[in-house]
């Protein structure tokens, strides 16, 4: 499958309320875009039922070339250092048309 190119998918699970901040991070670090899912869930801060704004989780996906992963993680660590609850996952993906995700 020579037409697929390896990149990284960064997944951030956090509160709806932080959507704006994450969008900022993505834009500043030059990702080509992002995708947001609303989700329910539970973790150390209890159940997030999705009913109130404050109770809704977002799952934030950004696909970036390998070269940009580190800067993105730095920015996320900054946010966490200020006290925000984030969960961050990084996984391997292969993209068709890598120029789209530059």
């Amino acid at each position: 499958m020579h037409r697929l190119y390896p990149e990284k998918l960064i997944t951030v699970i956090t509160s709806d309320v932080l959507e704006g901040r994450l969008v900022q991070v993505v834009k500043q670090r030059g990702a080509s875009g992002y995708t947001i899912f609303r989700a329910q869930g539970a973790g150390s801060s209890g159940e997030q039922s999705g009913m109130l704004d404050i109770d809704t989780n977002i799952v934030f996906h950004v696909v970036v070339p390998l070269a940009k992963v580190s800067a993105m993680l730095d920015a996320l660590e900054d946010l966490a250092r200020k006290g925000h609850h984030l969960r961050v996952l990084v996984s391997d993906v292969n993209v068709l048309w890598p120029e789209k995700f530059e």
């Binding site: 509160s15 709806d16 309320v17 932080l18 901040r21 609303r38 329910q40 801060s45 209890g46 159940e47 039922s49 999705g50 009913m51 109130l52 704004d53 404050i54 109770d55 809704t56 200020k82 006290g83 925000h84 609850h85």
Partner: protein, 336 residues
């Protein structure tokens, strides 16, 4: 109290609570819950604005002034108590306290339904106060947090990285805080609807009336059904929160109810109905506008603390016990 329990809105709250207690798989679609609260904010806003348009300007100004007083004052009282209790650190104290300066529209509307069911008249000014009270609480909460943050930094000897730029930085911060407090989604919706209600041509307002009045009580019932489920969900967190804070979650609204009763009767000269509503404004804690603001701007505080107190303790207490209790207090004071 018994009469309170015959109001459909309160009964639906109880039904939602009960459904979660018996572990029913009853579920609300998330977007419905959010839609209901948007509807309620718009309806309250339009209604309040419409009343404002017809109101006596002096009394209205006076009401707004006292609303600001409550919005700024209650968090200061709450903060003092919490810091004094030593059960939470200053950042959490600031975040929790902010909730008590704001109001819970759900509680306020339940009180209105309570008055309706007893056929007690009430002034329209408290609706205006409600719309005014969201922002000050957010502002004072953010200021208390900024102040605590700086004190913590000083204690720890090392000045915080961000705190370094001195005065100009502080001024920026303040503008930022004010901006957050006034661009908050529910604040914009409530104040915006109020302005629309006040300036819109009366004959076109008449066309919206059925939407914001006839179906209002039914929507409120669905909303409280959902909030009952939310409140019950928080019960599991009680242990984490601890007895002292739970006592705070009951004592603070009672104190607020007393202060509100005084202001409503003595300062604003309202009758039994209006005074009860002011008491409820002072007694209730926000769970729509303030929590997201705190989560964003005071990330150091724990959401499960302030949400459990506001949604799991104070809200159910007010809806079930508080309203009739404040009614008693008001009747004793007004003497009617």
């Amino acid at each position: 109290m018994l009469s309170n329990l015959l109001i459909p809105a309160v009964l639906f709250f109880a039904l939602g609570f009960f459904a979660k207690l018996i572990k029913s798989d009853l579920r609300f679609p998330p977007d419905l819950a959010k839609a209901l609260s948007i509807y309620l904010l718009v309806a309250i806003g339009l209604h309040g604005g419409y009343e404002l348009g017809k109101a006596d300007l002096l009394t209205a100004m006076n009401s707004v002034m006292w609303a600001l007083f409550l919005g700024f004052g209650m968090p200061l009282i709450g903060y003092a108590i919490l810091v004094f209790s030593k059960k939470v650190d200053p950042m959490n104290a600031a975040a929790i306290a902010a909730h008590y300066g704001s109001v819970s529209a759900g509680t306020f509307l339940t009180a209105v339904a309570y008055l309706d069911s007893l056929q007690i008249e009430y002034d329209s000014y408290p609706v205006i106060m409600l719309a005014v009270m969201e922002s000050p609480a957010i502002v004072v909460g953010l200021l208390l947090a900024a102040w605590s943050r700086r004190r913590l930094a000083q204690k720890q000897g090392a000045p915080q990285a961000e705190a370094g730029n001195g005065d100009e930085h502080d001024r920026n911060k303040l503008t930022h805080i004010l901006r957050e407090a006034f661009t908050n989604g529910s604040v914009v919706l409530l104040l915006g609807s109020m302005v629309i209600g006040a300036v819109a041509a009366p004959q076109s307002m008449a066309k919206i009336k059925p939407f914001i009045e006839d179906i209002f009580m039914g929507v409120l019932c669905l909303f409280l059904l959902e909030m009952g489920m939310e409140a019950a969900r928080r019960i599991g967190e009680f242990r984490r929160v601890g007895a002292v804070l739970i006592v705070f979650g009951v004592a603070m609204p009672v104190l607020g109810g007393m202060i509100g009763t005084l202001i409503g009767h003595e300062m604003l000269g309202f009758g039994v109905g209006g005074t009860l509503l002011v008491a409820v404004l002072a007694a209730s804690a926000s769970y729509i506008a303030v929590p997201p603001a705190m989560r964003l701007a005071v990330p150091e505080a724990s959401p499960s603390l302030y949400l459990t107190l506001s949604l799991g303790v104070t809200f159910p207490f007010n809806v079930v016990f508080g309203i009739p209790l404040y009614h008693m207090m008001v009747v004793m004071m007004v003497g009617a």
